[in-house]
Symmetry: C2
Subunit: 201 residues, 2 copies
């Protein structure tokens, strides 16, 4: 198996010599110095003190390093949604969950800004991020489908997923340009802007 460290699961076999967190720290250190594209896998491996082959068992690709353990944080996102009382209107439930998700990320990682800065300004990473965004959109689409009695691949659930991501991304982009503003306020503002844009009939 290509399965890397089981992460504390099994106590059997040779113990891992490093961790995702350590690799991430080393990566960001180098990215800050030489930029993302200017940093080779060999350089990161050397910084951590492991071989390139091992590095690629912790992360499937160089592009995955800045994203960290994103897939795992989606579990919390899902939990927030399903825990929402059903009498909360759908669009409010989704909006609140989106806010909560990003507030959590912010609190959990003080370096979240650097991470998003790197992801949103490096073309290579912008491109690769679509795959991650896809998982995020899927969570929303599944919840919308559940609430409306539709399937996740129907038009409306997918549209809500896409639009929620659109709002979040424009808020993030603006947030990077304006460090003094609060991300959750910007998500609200983006939503309000969309409403007024659509409502100006």
């Amino acid at each position: 198996m290509a399965t890397p460290p089981a992460h504390g699961a099994s106590l059997l076999g040779r113990p891992p010599v490093t961790s995702h967190a350590e690799i991430e720290r080393a990566g960001f250190r180098l990215f800050a110095q030489r930029g993302f594209d200017g940093t080779t896998l060999d350089a990161i491996a050397a910084e951590v003190g492991i071989s390139r082959r091992t590095l690629l068992r912790y992360y499937d690709s160089k592009n995955d390093i800045p994203w960290g353990r994103f897939s795992e944080t989606l579990d919390g996102f899902r939990a927030t949604l399903v825990a929402t009382p059903v009498d909360v209107p759908l669009h409010e439930a989704v909006h609140a969950a989106v806010l909560a998700f990003n507030r959590f990320d912010l609190d959990a990682h003080p370096s979240h800004r650097e991470r998003m800065q790197l992801i949103l300004t490096t073309p290579t990473l912008q491109a690769h991020s679509v795959l991650r965004y896809g998982e995020w959109r899927q969570v929303i689409a599944e919840y919308v489908a559940l609430r409306l009695g539709l399937r996740p691949d129907d038009l409306l659930p997918r549209t809500v997923g896409q639009v929620s991501l659109a709002l979040t991304l424009s808020a993030y982009t603006h947030w990077l340009d304006h460090p003094e503003l609060a991300l959750h306020d910007l998500i609200d503002t983006a939503m309000a802007g969309l409403r007024s844009y659509l409502g100006s009939a």
Copy 2:
């Protein structure tokens, strides 16, 4: 310069031995047979009858081949927008231009479905496409900024660009799953769905 064929511009120097269109046809022929990831640049070059190095002078990367001359079609998109009378409400102007842009694409290339199928279902291409979508969003953001007296990198113009793309992409995805439906109807339906989603307060 890495500038490939000037495409009929100058009659000086050695004439190009091939064209973007020819490469594109050869590419799609092979992609259909072996899939996108299963097709090497060497194979495409051989199919066209040129060297790999020359192929990479026509297209910056393998990922760019399915997109064809997309950047050029954006000029028409821009033209449609600026030609819109200013008394047309902004959201209608943008919506109409989005419809016109996609209707044009459809008419111009009967193989547009195959192209979009490839782009939207191949992970490698999904990722790379973000860069193209970025140019498209920028066109909308610039127009919205123009109409509202804002800058293209302000929050609302960017949000409208992001959301317009979101609607178009969910319509496209649904269109691929349901060949019997018309793309422009789906864009309308996605928009209507968003309005009802947001309006269910």
